[in-house]
């Protein structure tokens, strides 16, 4: 259950090469717009307004649109329309490949259907992992890391559960596995399909720390997260500044 993204799936199946994938991903990134860019393109917000929203977003965990609503910079209908137009205009990797003539629409459709099955299996396994032992720490941690990547790095992070027979996990356990899980019988890792994507720790630290605390309270974790936080943060320092960096990059690939 190691396929996480459609691009990787295509590489694994030998449909495209690893280097080609990187080229298409770069192309996709160039032509697609983030929501802020999209607002500028359609003339619904001024550059200084987008800047203001992004600045506010650094301090709180909320999507761009919600902050724009809160600041009265957008109306609800405008936000809904923007999200729709963004969905229409931005291209998924499959669409890029069809438009570039690498794959036919029918081939892409069949591959996407196959990939969708793999994804369902991943989610099923993950659900089992998370449900086992009612491990709230794990749920929160996954959520935090996913959110962090989405909000700050504009990348998607997907937790992948592999071989869950010898569960239970704890959040700390998970952190260890994030780093050193390869030599264990089972592990849970996170990945994006963009190479070289790393989180600058000073940026990640506040976000993850605050978010862990906030969500920890919300979901009513039985034990305080202090220990988990400390462990996570110290590990991340190690991740980013020790020789483990490569390992980390290997995980986030």
């Amino acid at each position: 259950m190691e396929s996480k993204f459609f691009g990787e799936f295509l590489v694994q199946k030998g449909v495209i090469g690893e280097e080609d994938l990187q080229v298409y991903l770069r192309h996709q990134k160039e032509i697609n717009n983030k929501i802020g860019e999209f607002c500028l393109k359609r003339g619904v917000l001024r550059p200084e307004e987008v800047e203001r929203i992004l600045e506010v977003q650094k301090g709180i965990d909320a999507p761009f649109g919600e902050i724009a609503l809160e600041l009265n910079l957008l109306k609800k209908e405008e936000m809904h329309d923007l999200l729709f137009f963004q969905e229409i205009e931005n291209l998924h990797l499959g669409e890029v490949l069809v438009k570039k003539g690498i794959l036919s629409l029918q081939e892409t459709s069949l591959l996407l259907r196959e990939f969708s099955k793999v994804e369902k299996e991943r989610k099923k396994l993950l659900y089992q992992v998370v449900q086992n032992n009612g491990n709230k720490e794990l749920v929160v941690l996954i959520e935090v890391l996913e959110k962090y990547f989405l909000r700050r790095r504009h990348g998607v992070l997907k937790p992948v559960a592999i071989d869950i027979k010898r569960f239970p996990f704890t959040a700390q356990d998970l952190c260890l596995r994030l780093l050193f899980g390869r030599d264990k019988g089972y592990y849970l890792w996170l990945g994006t399909q963009e190479k070289g994507l790393r989180a600058p720790f000073w940026d990640a630290e506040d976000f993850i720390y605050n978010y862990l605390r906030q969500r920890g309270k919300e979901v009513g974790l039985e034990k305080p997260l202090g220990e988990v936080e400390r462990e996570l943060l110290s590990l991340r320092h190690n991740i980013l500044f020790s020789s483990s960096t490569e390992e980390f990059a290997g995980i986030f690939y």
Binding site: H80, L83, T108, S109
Partner: protein, 260 residues
């Protein structure tokens, strides 16, 4: 410009027309008057009223239509036959074909291909009702609730003048939303359909069923009664009424799910 034969002797007018509008740019000494030429697709109805719709940057009629009396139209609008023949007609044809392909893919359960084609259609005409519904339905077919919600919110904002012909789209979208467990959203759509067509037992039944799923039993009762008033032999309706009667007799606030 072009006349399309109609049932009677009268020939209906349709095609691309332009409307010139003057505006000022600059200030003081640099100010000058410029003329904008706006393009519209016009079509005459049987009653002589002309409906005009703006032509978008991709040369397809898009957005809200408005109605203008024939005399006023002829006085202000200029025919643009070349634009119609060389740009608008091919673009409209291309759009129609794209949507037809998308709908065929959807019928064949090729949902990713359907999504691709519906999006292509919407890139040509972002206001297109058929393509917007089609995309939303495709997402729901695929069980992708998040994306369906994005489309759902968009349809709700569309300024298009919905006609009775769109009723089935709202109804179908409502049914799909309900089947995906999005009951509140489903109700909104049924009520949009209700505004377009007041007398349809199936629509009343659908509203009643969504109300039931939301635990709004009194409202469910009201609508199932309406459905059965139109068609007293409506089997599904009778079944749901029985379920509701059981609930009321037991005084149950919210009952077990009313299965598919």
């Amino acid at each position: 410009m072009e006349d399309r034969p109609s049932k009677g002797n009268r020939e209906r007018l349709y095609g691309v027309f332009s409307l010139s509008k003057k505006g000022k740019v600059g200030t003081w000494q640099t100010q000058k008057t410029i003329t904008h030429r706006l393009l519209f697709y016009a079509e005459e109805k049987d009653n002589g009223i002309i409906t005009v719709q703006p032509i978008n940057k991709n040369y397809v009629p898009s957005g809200p239509k408005r109605e203008i009396p024939r005399e006023e139209f002829l006085e202000n609008f200029t025919p643009e036959p070349e634009i119609y023949v060389n740009q608008v007609y091919p673009a409209m044809r291309n759009l129609t074909k794209t949507i037809a392909r998308a709908e065929r893919h959807r019928r064949n359960k090729e949902y990713y291909s359907a999504e691709y084609e519906f999006k292509n259609a919407l890139r040509i005409d972002e206001e297109n009702i058929r393509a917007t519904f089609g995309l939303g339905l495709t997402y729901l077919d695929r069980g992708d609730k998040e994306k369906a919600r994005v489309v759902f919110n968009r349809i709700y904002n569309l300024n298009a003048a919905f006609d009775r012909e769109h009723k089935h789209l709202f109804n179908e979208f409502g049914i799909k939303l309900r089947k995906n467990g999005l009951y509140k959203e489903a109700l909104k759509y049924y009520f949009k359909a209700y505004r377009l067509e007041k007398w349809d037992e199936h629509l009343f039944f659908n509203i009643a069923r969504a109300c039931y799923e939301l635990g709004k039993f009194k409202a469910a009762w009201r609508f199932i009664e309406k459905a059965l008033k139109i068609n007293p032999n409506f089997k599904e309706g009778i079944k749901l009424r029985k379920v509701l009667e059981t609930h009321f007799s037991k005084g149950v606030e919210r009952g077990e799910g009313y299965g598919e």
